[in-house]
């Protein structure tokens, strides 16, 4: 069929462009940092990493491998996770302004993580630290509370959901600040983490979150057709034979998992989940089969680029990356709010 083939070609070329964009952003991020590496030596270093044993590497290769690569990859997977979580929440709640940050899910996760960090719990859960599971618990509780209150108070109105989310977010952030305030000896790393960002993150952080992110993304993607149906309306999905309640629960867990794992390693980074799915819809449309991978790739490229900016703007020190995402996301949020009256989403 002619239409089918043309749309397949278009989809594949968009996919190729997004992967290329991500690869370029990652390469640029590897090349730039506190230690300047001339482009000729950068090429040599990359070649060493790929072809020779570590003992023979130059110090540039070691810097790239030990310091820059894990950090850059972490920014990419967290960006992908936050964008996916936002896309899922927007479809599920029929609300283009939904996102883990706006709905207080990130704050819930940060409270869960902060409690465990302060208690200094060292036990492991499925071989992983206790921080991520605690963040997941906080995220789920915050999400369910916000959705329940918004439903009860305002039915399905956008305003009710946003207000409940903002109130929840402020309240939970205040508790986190209170916890930090009363725990002076552990304050330094906590504040570091609270500000949100990827500085001094290494391979262990990447290994800690990747399983959660893979699980969360796989869960969302495996339900992509049901999510597309629900994003039209709950009743329509029901008529197409979708068990709406169960699917919604699974998808809420998926977005909470993606948010929680992200917050556990990089603190609260706002607005990625709000903005990126809109860009994704402009590129590939509203079908979640395409929108989820597109959002993940765009989110990865965006947050990696934001982290790059955060490192170079005030060199030799760095900005928390959350400042960059909020500088883009705040105006975007207001733009959506202003535009919303005339549009469905």
């Amino acid at each position: 069929m002619e239409i089918g083939r043309r749309s397949l070609t278009r989809t594949l070329s968009i996919a190729a462009t997004l992967w290329l964009l991500l690869a370029l952003v990652i390469l640029a991020s590897l090349a730039v940092g506190a230690v300047s590496i001339p482009s000729a030596r950068f090429g040599v270093a990359l070649k060493q990493i790929l072809t020779t044993p570590m003992a023979e590497w130059s110090y540039e290769a070691i810097i790239i491998w030990r310091l820059r690569l894990p950090r850059v990859l972490l920014a990419a997977v967290v960006g992908a996770a936050l964008a996916t979580a936002g896309a899922v929440l927007q479809g599920l709640l029929h609300n283009g302004m939904a996102d883990s940050y706006v709905l207080g899910v990130s704050s819930g996760a940060s409270l869960g993580a902060a409690v465990v960090m302060l208690l200094g719990l060292k036990f492991t859960f499925l071989g992983l630290g206790a921080v991520a599971p605690a963040a997941f618990l906080g995220a789920v509780l915050a999400l369910i509370t916000v959705i329940t209150i918004a439903r009860r108070v305002a039915g399905k109105s956008t305003l009710g959901l946003l207000l409940a989310g903002i109130a929840m977010s402020s309240f939970l952030s205040a508790i986190v600040s209170l916890l930090v305030y009363f725990s002076n000896e552990k304050i330094q790393p906590m504040i570091f983490w609270l500000m949100g960002g990827f500085s001094a993150r290494g391979w262990n952080h990447l290994l800690l979150v990747t399983p959660y992110l893979v699980l969360g993304y796989s869960l969302a993607f495996s339900l992509n057709r049901y999510l597309t149906a629900i994003s039209i309306s709950d009743q329509t999905a029901h008529h197409f034979g979708v068990n709406v309640e169960k699917t919604r629960l699974a998808l809420l867990c998926s977005s909470a998992l993606l948010t929680a794992a992200s917050v556990a390693v990089s603190g609260v980074i706002g607005f990625v989940g709000l903005m990126i799915p809109h860009v994704g819809r402009m590129l590939v449309g509203h079908n979640y089969r395409k929108l989820l991978p597109a959002s993940a790739l765009l989110g990865a490229a965006f947050l990696t680029a934001a982290d790059l900016l955060a490192r170079v703007i005030v060199r030799p020190t760095e900005l928390p990356v959350g400042i960059i995402t909020a500088l883009c996301g705040g105006p975007f949020f207001l733009y959506l709010l202003a535009k919303r009256r005339s549009e469905v989403l």
Binding site: I3, S7, G91, H94, S222, R225, Y226, T228, A229, S231, I232, S233, Q235, T236, H238, H239, F240, G241, V242, N243, R281, G285, H286, N287, V344, L345
Partner: protein
């Protein structure tokens, strides 16, 4: 076997909506459900689609007890086009129609040849083939309604239920839609639709179900159900009923006074 068998069904939502109704709808017929606002027409549709759960009574779809069917099984038996389809998402027509295949697809299965054929057929039957790649937001009200019906047809059920599908359409598009439904019924599909326009219902439907404040007043052929006494009693307004000059079916003309 009947398409739908309802017996002693009660449903209340703060106050009673359906009072102990019993109803049989024939397989292969084009049935119109009529009645004033608040009579319980949409509630019946929502109970049949299991969006609402009745307090008591039994409902059978093609002989099978409704509560015992999974949502998937139900979606293979009957397709439902909800009232005033409010589409939050802007997928393409083809993507919407493809969702009609969900009840036939296993969890990880890709779209297969059978799915593609059902989608093509549904698009063709509704005259939407040329619109396949258009986003829903670019469609007119009538086109949107046809796209939604195409998705229901892709479910390949024996029963199609619609809740006021002609609302918001002008007379040309109302007629177009009812002609489509009539053709589907003549092709063997059981079509059950809630309608507001009594004259259009009389023109197209084989059977009429007349509802009034949660009770079934009468079911049967239009000429038996649509009498002036019955309509005046149910709608509380004065009418005269006359035979259609071309098709002889009953038509109503409104009178200015009250009953």
């Amino acid at each position: 076997m009947n398409a739908i068998e309802i017996s002693n069904l009660n449903f209340s939502f703060d106050k009673p909506v359906l009072n102990n109704i019993s109803l049989q709808l024939r397989l292969g017929a084009f049935t119109g459900i009529l009645g004033p606002n608040g009579a319980g027409k949409s509630t019946i549709v929502k109970i049949l689609s299991r969006w609402f759960k009745p307090q008591n009574g039994t409902v059978r779809i093609k002989g099978q007890s409704l509560p015992q069917l999974s949502q998937r099984q139900l979606a293979r038996l009957l397709a439902v086009v909800e009232q005033d389809t409010h589409l939050n998402s802007d997928i393409s027509v083809r993507e919407l129609v493809a969702l009609g295949r969900l009840p036939h697809q296993s969890f990880f299965a890709e779209e297969n040849g059978q799915d593609r054929k059902a989608i093509e057929n549904a698009l063709q039957t509704t005259g939407m083939t040329a619109f396949a790649s258009r986003p829903l937001s670019s469609l007119s009200g009538g086109e949107k309604q046809r796209a939604r019906i195409a998705a229901a047809l892709a479910q390949q059920t024996e029963i199609l239920i619609l809740d006021e599908p002609t609302t918001h359409l002008d007379i040309k598009h109302q007629l177009e839609l009812l002609r489509l439904l009539k053709a589907l019924a003549e092709g063997g599909l059981t079509v059950i639709t809630v309608l507001h326009d009594i004259n259009l219902a009389a023109l197209f439907c084989d059977d009429i179900v007349l509802l009034s404040s949660g009770n079934i007043v009468m079911t049967g052929a239009p000429q038996n159900v649509l009498t002036s006494e019955q309509i005046e009693a149910v709608y509380d307004c004065k009418v005269t009923v006359y035979p259609h000059p071309v098709y002889q079916v009953p038509q109503i003309a409104l009178l200015k006074g009250t009953s």
